[in-house]
Symmetry: C2
Subunit: 332 residues, 2 copies
């Protein structure tokens, strides 16, 4: 039975580090809360855990609906656990709701993986913007690392909104493809392929085996010039349902880790990600505080209407609103 005081961040941090799964779940619920007192406790918790973070392989996995992400993550997770690792699976899905998220909400997903003691699966936080989901997922990743999970998988829905946010928080971004034609035919949005550090054609089995080989060859050709630093983006295939090819994917992830640790790119990427997170935190909080300010709330609708009607210069409306928010003297 768990024994920790939820309102005491030091105590909760100790329970998380000791491997208490209820404490881990509670800690993530805490960082997902928007209540001001929860937020303060969450920050203290994160500060206490921070020295014990960073020791994982952070993987982003994306792919269009139907590509077999759940099946892949289950096969991949079980393989990696079999090698002695601990795997946490987090989701980034801004569209999910507490009642029936579009990914990971379904409890029948990843049944075998979820039964493993060394696996932890967490659905996307609900009712938040992409920015909010991204922040909470970054924080949940840190908590899972402090709890001893050394492989973190961040899954996206793959409909073109959240991929950039996920690529910006992981060491390696993996794109799952179907055995089929080009990006457009697969419904992949522009620019997503360029985010990938690793491309994997799934469902390379049965009737689709030959098509999968062609798809691998096509993407290898198309991605000849795609490099991220010293890393040339590989194109692999697998059959998640038959658990074929998963070992080679894990080996490639290991190569990527070795190369990017040796040349410093992993450290640079993480530092850049932390800086970008800081600035997005600052920008989002500034605009949230601005929108919530009583004087802004009183005038915004009217001034926005004037601006869209062409009756007021946006600069003038902005200055009036910023004057209310910052105090007249603060605005040039």
């Amino acid at each position: 039975m768990s024994d920790f005081r939820e309102s005491d961040p030091t105590h909760l941090a100790e329970a998380v580090r000791a491997g208490d799964r209820r404490a881990l779940a509670r800690a993530i619920t805490l960082i997902e809360s928007t209540r001001a007192d929860h937020r303060a406790t969450a920050e203290a918790l994160l500060a206490a855990l921070l020295p014990f973070t960073g020791n994982s392989v952070r993987l982003g996995i994306s792919g269009v609906p139907g590509v077999g992400k759940s099946t892949f993550i289950e096969a991949f997770g079980l393989h990696v656990i079999g090698l002695g690792h601990k795997v946490a699976v987090l989701a980034v899905d801004p569209s999910s709701q507490r009642t029936g998220g579009s990914i990971l909400g379904d409890k029948t997903r990843m049944v075998d993986l979820s039964r493993e003691a060394n696996a932890f699966i967490r659905p996307s936080p609900a009712g938040a913007t992409l920015g909010g989901v991204a922040r909470r997922t970054r924080e949940a990743m840190l908590i899972c690392e402090a709890a001893g999970f050394d492989v973190i998988v961040v899954e996206t829905v793959g409909v073109g909104q959240s991929e950039t946010a996920v690529a910006d928080m992981v060491d390696l971004f993996m794109l799952l493809l179907l055995p089929a034609g080009g990006d457009e035919l697969q419904g992949i949005k522009k620019g997503i392929v360029e985010l990938a550090d690793l491309v994997v054609v799934n469902k390379a089995d049965g009737d689709l085996a030959a098509t999968a080989r062609h798809t691998v060859a096509d993407y290898r050709h198309a991605l000849t010039l795609l490099r991220h630093g010293d890393w040339r983006v590989p194109v692999l295939s697998c059959s998640a349902v038959h658990k074929n090819g998963v070992d080679a994917i894990w080996d490639t992830i290991g190569e990527h880790k070795a190369i990017t640790q040796a040349n410093g790119q992993r450290a640079t990427r993480r530092a850049d990600q932390a800086r970008a997170w800081l600035w997005s935190e600052i920008r989002e909080t500034l605009i949230d505080r601005f929108r919530a300010h009583p004087a802004v709330r009183a005038d915004l609708a009217r001034l926005e209407a004037d601006v869209t009607a062409g009756a007021m210069i946006p600069t003038t409306a902005a200055r009036a609103l910023l004057g209310s928010f910052l105090g007249e003297s603060a605005v040039p």
Copy 2:
């Protein structure tokens, strides 16, 4: 000889509306200034002119260096002036400097057009970020409209930075292409073609005439599905140097105007642009004021270093800095 009091925005506005070219140039210099007192006068000037704006066709023109933008704009401008219009040409080039801008800084450009009484050519404001250049160009556009210019051409350097900013301030965004292969071969960045309301293959003359025909056919095929509302993006060709095809381009711009005015898309687009301008103004001013705040300046470098070193959660650093900026009580 001009006769207006520069520091009196009402008087300057009257001179601009009366067609005084020195007043027009002075008004644009005023809105380009970052001095606080100039900014206040500029806003009063814009407020006085606002009722007389909006009555132009706002065109954005982009294309990679070498596509013949200057030659095209000169041929186009002369054609349109011949039909009785007044044409203003503005540039958006965040890389330009007061001493030797990369576009429009060269005084030998558009020699014939610059001699026309009904043409006004203005280089990009110098020493500003893209956001700053975009704001000043939007404001310059309004001033030109109040001065009676009914065709405004906003030119970009076409190297992938400023196209979105320009597409977001015009009624019709035109992309000039070379008679050559696909986007990549022409050095066109991803996503730029999708911004276009009109695609024009220039240099359709001499040895390149056949290649131009193929390029038109290729792009027509590739853009079959590209629509903006009811508008299906046309692909035309021209020879700016021989002044061929310019009349058809102007006619197409007229069709676009008629269709988008009739279905309300022009009004919606302008309202959306004004709203987006308001919010970008708010966001940029907030972050500028934040960076300039003494307490933020004192602590930012240290906290940013802690964050990138993984020694502090970005959320915590953001809260500390925002506390200094907004006052502790204002931050959750």
